[in-house]
């Protein structure tokens, strides 16, 4: 079994190979990293992006990703897959630009009793898409957890941002990230208001207003309440 160091070394080499035009070798190294536990934050973002870039030179790159995606899907359907396979599956579809396949699987497993845990996990991955489409009721079971996660992420980010030097590149970059999180929070707020989970909605609102250096949150949250048909409840 390859060690963490070996896995990382192979990926570093793959990126060098790609720059030199050694695409087959680069693909081999990327897939090795993907299949052997490269760090989670990297393998499902940079590595997938690298593989799709390689697919412009090497059709096998896309096929390799499709094969892995199909394997994940099969393992989810037969119940042997878990959180990791769901995470991989949705990420593969994102980079293959086939996000509808994730929604199709969600629908497919929604009525299979033994797969309800996986269904909830898949919902967690797809909630923003469903919320944007106004499918609030489908999200009623998971939106409270999402709201708590978003508030936690936002609060941590706000703390880090408050320690950065004003005017620095990091300060501006992180402000942009906070702005995106506030937007995400307003979407969760919209769902919470729509499904009448008011206690959690209020808690989320408090944290968003508390951790908003942009001054834009209040208007966003009010708009979200209105979109959920609860505009009159928002003062």
């Amino acid at each position: 079994m390859p060690t963490e160091r070996e896995v990382k070394r192979r990926y570093d080499q793959a990126r060098i190979d790609a720059k030199k035009g050694k695409y087959a070798e680069a693909l081999e190294g990327c897939l090795f990293f993907l299949d052997n536990g490269g760090s989670a934050g990297v393998r499902l973002s940079y590595t997938l992006s690298d593989i799709m870039a390689l697919s412009e030179h090497l059709p096998d790159a896309r096929i390799a990703l499709e094969t892995r995606r199909d394997r994940c899907e099969a393992s989810i359907l037969d119940g042997s897959g878990g959180w990791q396979e769901i995470h991989d599956f949705t990420s593969f579809n994102k980079y293959l630009d086939e996000r509808d396949r994730s929604l199709a699987l969600l629908e497919q497993i929604s009525h299979i009793p033994k797969l309800q845990e996986l269904h909830a996990t898949l919902l967690n991955h797809l909630w923003e898409r469903l919320a944007t489409e106004g499918q609030y009721e489908k999200l009623a079971s998971i939106i409270e957890d999402e709201a708590r996660n978003i508030a936690g992420y936002l609060a941590r980010h706000y703390v880090v941002w408050s320690f950065l030097t004003e005017g620095s590149d990091e300060h501006s970059r992180d402000l942009g990230m906070i702005r995106r999180q506030v937007a995400q929070a307003s979407l969760a707020y919209e769902v919470l208001m729509a499904v009448h989970k008011d206690r959690v909605a209020e808690t989320l609102l408090r944290w968003v207003l508390r951790c908003d250096p942009t001054g834009e949150a209040e208007a966003l949250m009010s708009a979200a309440a209105a979109k959920a048909g609860r505009g009159s409840d928002s003062k």
Partner: protein, 277 residues
């Protein structure tokens, strides 16, 4: 090896240990530790389990202690030679922690420091890991390069747990609050002491403000006053006491509506300055 197979081998190592088959259990743990450290299946819990298992075995057979010390030396040499990095430093720190040898962490830190600029990166990384040992030993000056990041880190944890507390149902709040008081407050106080010792009063003030506005840490203010006194900062302790008496740093009461005022927006001007949480 799959995750399931790895878990099974850990179970059998544990079983061997429980049956008193120490040498066999040790061999099993060491094989897992040395040969199966793949991040996809071998997580931090496995590392803790392997090291704790070996430490327990060391109470019965000498070979276990020697095996641990050999590995610690190997990891230290890897860091010193440049062939090892974060993983090895983290392993050294965890092993010393589990063996209740915190002083060994400071010995290794000093070794890195003595190697000068060529080992600056490794020194900085290990410094962040051993900040508590340094602060507890009163070696505050050495914390200067990392104290701001460490303050930000502890505040992130406090903020995260405060969120979880706030979202929890009333029945669950007690447990969440207890965890914060037990694990986060002591770290926050240690950092506060270090900040005062280093003269970083503005950051100390920011830390105190966040903590005092954290409802589940309601027991914190008196402990911060004690910390300020301990550091010889009676001026700060007096200011905190006055604020505590007048309750000027506590949140103003009021319920949030659908769009409501920012919570905990009391006037902190008497004690606090700088950024507001």
């Amino acid at each position: 090896m799959t995750q399931q197979e790895l878990d099974q081998r850990f179970s059998s190592a544990e079983e061997l240990k429980e049956k008193g088959k120490y040498l066999e259990a040790l061999t099993e743990y060491l094989d897992l530790l040395d040969n199966y450290r793949n991040p996809r299946i071998f997580g931090p819990a496995h590392l803790i389990s392997a090291l704790s298992g070996i430490i327990e075995i060391a109470k019965h057979i000498q070979e276990a202690r020697e095996a641990l010390l050999v590995r610690r030396s190997q990891w230290e040499e890897m860091v010193l030679s440049g062939s090892g990095g974060y993983q090895e430093m983290s392993d050294i720190h965890l092993m010393n922690d589990l063996m209740e040898h915190p002083e060994q962490n400071l010995v290794f830190l000093t070794r890195l420091a003595n190697l000068g600029p060529s080992h600056q990166d490794a020194y900085n990384r290990f410094l962040k890991m051993v900040w508590k040992e340094l602060a507890s030993a009163g070696r505050f000056t050495e914390l200067e390069p990392c104290i701001e990041k460490q303050t930000s880190f502890i505040l992130c944890q406090i903020a995260q747990h405060h969120v979880m507390w706030d979202f929890a149902e009333d029945a669950e709040k007690g447990e969440e609050s207890q965890g914060m008081l037990e694990y986060l407050l002591p770290d926050a106080i240690l950092i506060y002491e270090a900040l005062l010792a280093l003269g970083k009063d503005d950051i100390a003030s920011k830390l105190a403000k966040w903590v005092f506005e954290c409802e589940p840490l309601a027991e914190a203010p008196p402990q911060f006053i004690t910390a300020a006194n301990k550091m010889g900062r009676t001026d700060t302790a007096d200011a905190l006491t006055r604020a505590l008496d007048s309750r000027s740093f506590f949140p103003k009461s009021g319920n949030a509506g659908a769009v409501s005022p920012v919570p905990n927006s009391g006037d902190h001007s008497q004690v606090f300055e700088g950024d507001t949480p």
